[in-house]
């Protein structure tokens, strides 16, 4: 039974009893219990969005059962969940074929499709494309409080971008977007003292490590961090590696 005080709910997955907390997404709860559900647009760090449609499951609540995406479905007491029913798999395969046509240059898409035995798509491909418009870059950028990115356009023209497709004044080049990007289409390149994220029209100077001289983070990013942490910028003058070494050195016996 549900424990109301702790907001714990109980539900069944393929007959097995599972627990979740109120407000938790079904997908998180499923994964916590070791069930495998594919996804491309979900990340624990940010809110669910429901774009890729891969996390489909069958949910029975009362007498009614339906297919739904699990990432944005809140766990509830008494749900009965089935994972890979014939219907779920049939639709997931078509969604994968659509994704394979939409972004054939994305390795993550090709790999996932291959796991479902899909090597080719019956649909008209856009050969160069490697972004699936999952919006994770936008959501992480919002979560770190920078808000440099957003969607522009509608229908197939919809795409994640910076305001007016120009360099965003807000972007600090932190690279969180690249970290969460499921297809690797956001590329961060550090070279010749600059950080470049071509997708966002960004080129900013890197701070050189006081100790090793390597460019390690954009100046604007460090300034922002120092401001947030109320630290002197001098505290961030070393790259993480050198900072670690210096810290370790304090503990070394002579």
């Amino acid at each position: 039974m549900a424990d109301e005080k702790c907001n714990v709910v109980e539900f069944k997955v393929q007959g097995q009893i599972c627990q979740g907390t109120l407000g938790e997404s079904l997908l998180s709860a499923l994964r916590r219990h070791g069930f495998e559900v594919p996804s491309l647009c979900f990340h624990e760090a940010v809110s669910s969005y429901g774009a890729c449609r891969l996390c489909l499951v069958e949910v029975k609540k009362g007498r009614r059962s339906k297919l739904t995406t699990s990432c944005n479905y809140p766990v509830q007491e008494g749900l009965e969940v089935q994972l890979d029913t014939d219907e779920v798999v049939r639709h997931r395969r078509i969604v994968l074929q659509l994704l394979l046509a939409a972004a054939p240059a994305a390795k993550a898409v090709r790999d996932l499709a291959a796991r479902y035995g899909i090597e080719e798509t019956p649909f008209v491909p856009r050969p160069e494309e490697d972004c699936i418009q999952c919006g994770l870059c936008i959501r992480i950028c919002e979560a770190v409080g920078v808000n440099a990115l957003g969607f522009a356009g509608r229908g197939v023209s919809k795409h994640a971008t910076t305001p007016y497709e120009e360099t965003s004044a807000a972007c600090v080049g932190c690279g969180a977007c690249a970290d969460v990007c499921p297809t690797g289409c956001v590329k961060v390149v550090d070279a010749d003292g600059f950080r470049t994220i071509e997708r966002w029209h960004l080129k900013v100077p890197l701070t050189l490590c006081k100790t090793c001289g390597r460019g390690f983070a954009p100046e604007v990013h460090l300034t922002r961090m120092a401001g947030q942490a109320k630290l002197e910028i001098a505290h961030l003058a070393n790259c993480p590696k050198c900072r670690g070494r210096a810290f370790a050195a304090e503990f070394r016996l002579p």
């Binding site: 969005y49 429901g50 774009a51 890729c52 449609r53 489909l56 297919l67 739904t68 995406t69 944005n72 479905y73 809140p74 219907e87 049939r90 639709h91 078509i94 969604v95 659509l98 994704l99 046509a101 939409a102 019956p122 649909f123 008209v124 699936i132 418009q133 919006g135 957003g150 969607f151 356009g153 509608r154 229908g155 197939v156 023209s157 919809k158």
Partner: protein, 628 residues
């Protein structure tokens, strides 16, 4: 004159006063200035009436109204008390109307409506277009100047509100709407009472509940909500105030009307109506001297079709991009600004005052099914349709739920124009379905239409004849929806784009073996896996045309033939023996595709022809034909 009503008694006294001076014999010239009539010069016409009346000594009221429905015959004018109906009225007709009809009461024959059999009708209620309708919502449009709250009060406006505030509890009103079986007119047909009940029951920490009206009306060709907002704004407001009482009292109900930006006149009329209602004590603090506080703000939409979807609409009011979200947590519990929210369509709200003033029995006597135990058990009341396409009488049509398509298209609509043969009717707007001749006796209600693979939608109804290609039609709607998809979810964004690509190639004669199966499989996924109603219904035009007109798809794919002779790559223009070589087509052809000199029979070089059809238009001997 506007007075502030401090009580229901104040309002009723004022109404009696108005009605006393407005006897049934009053002379009125009512000029329709709805969308269709305005396009045909109704505003200028009204001005001429005003000037001529001023010049004359006639005691007659000029009333410029919202859409009266018979747009085909714009501009229309009705002269009271005889209810003489004039159509296609011009400025030069005005003096004669005043002297002959207003003064002497005689009808001017040439301005009367004549049907295709040559019969002429004098009174509005006898004109078949009106006679075959049941106009309970639209009936007011001809009796009201939308800018006059007095006109609305005189016909019984705000009486339902007065009655409710005086005698009824909020729960009773929710229950009444539940038992009336009123279902949402905005597309989904969800029982309004069920929605009201969950919103009333939802926990509202600070007492705030939002009462919203959806006036986004994004379906191309639809204008029923426009006609209500422009023609009778107070009816919509009264519905919302009643909703605020039923759903949000006691507490802090707050109202918004979301109107599409392309309806500036609706915005203007609603704005004025709201200001009037505030001054009269019908909106704001202490409505009619009771404890009910409620006000309404207008929010102009951004113009995207998807903004009509409930969650996208709420995002848009909040200032975000109009993108739908999953509704696993109902908006009745967490909607606008995360507060309990009740959204209804304009026409749904407009029904509320009538249900209350005329009673449950009246409402449930109209329509289909039995809703006494289950609000899903039928479709009650009337529905307004925007009847357009290949039909004699285009315009706004209000009929009881359950009327057959045949009744709407033939009795009211007058059937297809002479020489045209009915082929199909598209109901429910862009994501509705196409129904063939064999289903003309289908009763039009929420459930029958859905079973037939179409839907009620908001009430669009497009009649088509043999000159429409069903594959091309599906292609048109698919492209509309693909362009209007917000692009958030893969199944809708990519799925619709691929459906378009497949249907495009079929229309070009490049359809492949297996395309029909691919279309069906992909459609099912788009319907099942998509996040919002747009994707979930977008395949309807495709699936319904494949279901009822499959042979057209097959002939496009396998024979490269378009029987309606529409799909450009599948047709050829040819010149027959009757050509006398007059050179007219030759001179007009933009690509020099027509060969043959003077007096010599012409021929068309198919490789140069762009199928523009100009040659056919200019040929005096009808020697040019389209083949497929």
């Amino acid at each position: 004159m506007e007075t502030r009503f401090h009580s229901v008694a104040d309002l009723e006294a004022y109404r009696r006063q108005l009605q006393a001076v407005r006897g049934p014999d009053r002379k009125i010239v009512s000029v329709c200035a709805g969308t269709g009539c305005r396009a045909c010069g109704a505003r200028g016409l009204a001005e001429v009436f005003r000037e001529e009346i001023a010049k004359s000594n006639l005691e007659v009221e000029l009333r410029v109204t919202g859409c009266q429905g018979f747009c085909e015959r714009s501009p229309v004018v009705v002269v009271q008390p005889q209810s003489i109906f004039y159509q296609r009225v011009k400025a030069i007709d005005v003096p004669e109307i005043l002297t002959e009809t207003v003064e002497k009461g005689t009808a001017i024959q040439r301005l009367l409506y004549t049907d295709s059999d040559g019969r002429t009708y004098e009174r509005e209620q006898d004109v078949p277009f009106y006679r075959h309708q049941t106009r309970s919502l639209l009936a007011f449009n001809g009796q009201i100047d939308p800018d006059s709250i007095d006109d609305y009060i005189a016909v019984g406006g705000y009486a339902a509100l007065g009655k409710v505030l005086q005698e009824r509890k909020p729960e009773e009103i929710v229950d009444l709407i539940l038992r009336s079986g009123l279902r949402g007119r905005g597309g989904g047909g969800f029982p309004a009472g069920v929605k009201w009940q969950s919103c009333r029951k939802a926990h509202a920490a600070d007492g705030i509940r939002y009462i919203l009206c959806n006036g986004d009306e994004g379906d191309p060709g639809a204008f029923m909500d426009c006609a209500l907002m422009e023609g009778n704004p107070h009816l919509v407001l009264e519905g919302m105030i009643l909703g605020a009482f039923a759903i949000g009292f006691p507490g802090q109900p707050k109202g918004y009307i979301y109107v599409r930006n392309e309806y500036p006149l609706a915005v203007e009329r609603l704005t004025r109506a709201i200001e009037q209602a505030r001054r009269c004590g019908l909106l704001g603090k202490g409505i009619l001297g009771t404890e009910l506080d409620f006000d309404i703000l207008i929010n102009k939409g951004g113009g995207a079709f998807v903004c009509g979807e409930s969650t996208a609409l709420m995002a848009s009011i909040e200032g975000f991009v109009g993108e739908p979200r999953a509704k696993h947590i109902h908006t009745a519990e967490q909607g606008l600004f995360d507060k309990p929210t009740n959204l209804n369509n304009v026409e749904t709200w407009a029904n509320v005052p009538l249900i209350i003033s005329r009673g449950l029995e009246w409402f449930t006597s109209i329509g289909t099914g039995d809703v006494s135990k289950d609000p899903w058990g039928g479709s009650k009341g009337t529905k307004i349709f925007a009847l357009v396409g290949k039909v004699n009488n285009t315009g706004l049509v209000e009929v009881p739920m359950g009327s057959t398509l045949r009744h709407i298209i033939w009795d009211v609509g007058g059937g297809p124009p002479p020489g045209k043969k009915f082929k199909a009717v598209q109901t429910g707007g862009p994501s509705g379905g196409c129904l063939p001749e064999s289903l003309l006796d289908l009763p039009v209600d929420f459930d029958r239409l859905t079973e037939a693979g179409s839907m009620m939608g908001s009430g669009g109804m497009i009649v088509m004849d043999e000159s429409t290609c069903m594959v091309d039609l599906a292609r048109y709607f698919l492209h509309f929806l693909a362009d209007e998809s917000c692009g958030k979810c893969v199944s809708c964004r990519e799925g619709l784009a691929q459906l378009c690509a497949i249907v495009d190639r079929i229309c070009k004669g490049e359809g492949r073996e297996g395309d029909l199966e691919l279309l069906k499989d992909l459609s099912t996924t788009v319907q099942t896996a998509s996040l919002c109603g747009l994707g979930q219904t977008a395949a309807n035009p495709l699936l319904s045309t494949m279901r009822y007109f499959e042979e057209e798809y097959i002939s496009h794919i396998h024979e490269h033939r378009c029987s309606a002779k529409v799909c450009k790559t599948l047709i050829r223009y040819v010149i027959d023996d009757s050509c006398d070589g007059c050179m007219a087509c030759n001179a007009q052809c933009g690509t020099k595709a027509i060969q043959g000199g003077k007096k010599a029979r012409h021929t068309i070089d198919d490789s140069l022809c762009t199928r523009c059809g100009v040659c056919m238009d200019v040929c005096k001997r009808n020697a040019i034909h389209v083949e497929s």
